[in-house]
Amino acid sequence: MKATKILGMVIILGIFLSMPLYIGAYWLHVAIISLFYVMMASSWNLLAGYTGQVSFAHAAFAGIGAYLSGILAITLHVPPIIGVFIGATIAALFGFALGMLCIKMGGIYLSLTTLAFSEIIRLIITNEYELTRGTMGLEVPNLIGFYSKPAYFYIMLVMSIVFLIIIYRIIHSDLGTTFRAVSNDELAANSLGINVVRVRIVAFVISSAMAGFAGAMFGHYLLLISPDISSLGQMFLVLAMTIIGGMGSFVGPIIGAFFLEILSEYIRIYGEYHVLIFGVIALIIARFAPSGIMGIYRDKLKIKWKEVS
């Protein structure tokens, strides 16, 4: 890797690592939320951006992870640190099942099925009051036994970096190439010896496991989870962040997550308009610059840079 790239990454890492020192509790909270969305958007991008399976069930998987881990902690006193992994595993199993269910379906039908799945999960969470406290919300214990924003921030930061490294390695591996091939032309990929079913399912399992993990981690931070976490509204945020940042690129979802989360805090000063504004921005980007911010950077700015240097 180029020296400038490494230097840039080190600087950014340094900024993040030292954040708890100079930003207040409120913005640390925003940073933690942003990291949650980074995990969600990046893992969704792996499925939707790289294999072309636009699933609307991502938030539902986060919900599965969060509620499972929370319920295990409350009823069976499973330590959240273990609960998070169990939640991720169960989410992965659901992801496998959903992926298999959708395997014969193309774009639109697949999306509709994942949508139906997402709503079923939300309805179950809402209705099984005994277990989940429904819309009242479920109080779940802290991840590490004590409450400390800086500690949680570092935990989320480390997990996000781990996720991103995994995703980066996948994207730049043979698996990543087959992901893109399946997205471009499934039939041709199949005819070239690629086990398309396996590729699609692997993508589903990995992304749903990550969503489940992220959801569980986030739940043990918020200490109160509601069916909202698996709602289509949450799904929309993840989708908007990925699209605005740049679907199908590695950095895109990261940028999208931070950009939108921070933006929503500024908008919140004036009122709860942030979803509307994101929607409009996402609409404009999807219409005029479908490759998102990363696309704009690649096409316009990179060329200017080359001309200058």
């Binding site: 043979d174 087959t178 893109r180 032309d185 199949n190 005819s191 070239l192």
Partner: protein, 241 residues
């Protein structure tokens, strides 16, 4: 015989795309498939490569019954194809396009070896200057070259070409035909191709089979087939007086 097809039948709804088709392909020959539009030629390709399963009949490749195999398994066994309307991976570079074929069939090579393989095949078809070009930016001819490189990267024993000459000018056709012969001569790959450009397919093929309305109506040397009244009738619609 590298491939033997017996009694292949395939219908879609009420349409009998293929009816009791029997034929065989000899090792290292160039077999041509002709027939008027809608005769079932591409359907036959799709059945052989596992995109469709035959309703009746059997396909044996090197003695193995591949009738029910999925496309990727058929490819692993040694059959590769190109498509009538090119199906290159448009948003991927030429290198990545061919890399997919390498990954699909030689996954254990190191990344450097895989890349070398891909570049080797791109060079063979004349695309060495387009290694990093995205497939969507290629001309039609180059897309066809890319599909060929991609198919060859799977080290097939049998190569199916579906109207590979369509849309090419005379010089490009000549080049393509030369390439087909080189592929057979140099690599020992058996060729089974569909073509509408009569001169080319008659000149290059060793044998020809003719399909019409899903049935095989003729088989033999190009000269014999060309003079066959049934074949002429199939194309012109009426027997010559």
């Amino acid at each position: 015989m590298i491939l033997k097809a017996t009694g292949i039948s395939k219908s879609f709804g009420g349409l009998h795309a293929l009816s009791e088709v029997d034929f065989h392909i000899n090792e290292e020959e160039i077999l041509g498939l002709i027939g008027p539009n809608g005769a079932g030629k591409t359907t036959l390709f799709n059945v052989i490569t596992g995109i469709y399963n035959p309703e009746k009949g059997k396909i044996e490749f090197n003695g193995e019954d591949i009738s029910k195999y999925k496309p990727f398994k058929v490819c692993h066994k040694g059959i590769a194809r190109t498509f009538q309307v090119t199906r290159t991976f448009l948003d991927m570079s030429c290198l990545d396009n061919v890399l997919v074929g390498v990954i699909g069939n030689n996954p254990k090579l190191s990344p450097a070896e895989k890349k070398a393989e891909a570049i080797k095949h791109l060079k063979f078809v004349g695309l060495n200057n387009f290694v990093d070009t995205e497939a969507k930016n290629l001309t039609l001819v180059d897309k066809k070259r890319l599909e060929l490189a991609r198919a060859l990267s799977t080290y097939p024993k049998l190569l199916l070409l579906d109207e590979v000459l369509a849309g090419l000018n005379t010089a490009e056709m000549r080049e393509a035909c030369d390439l087909i012969n080189i592929i057979r001569d140099k690599f020992g790959i058996t060729i089974f191709w569909v073509e509408h450009v009569m001169r080319a397919i008659m000149e290059v093929s060793w044998r020809i089979i003719v399909l019409d309305h899903g049935e095989k109506i003729a088989e033999g040397l190009p000269k014999e087939v060309a003079g066959n009244p049934k074949v002429i009738e199939a194309y012109l619609g009426e027997p010559n007086a």
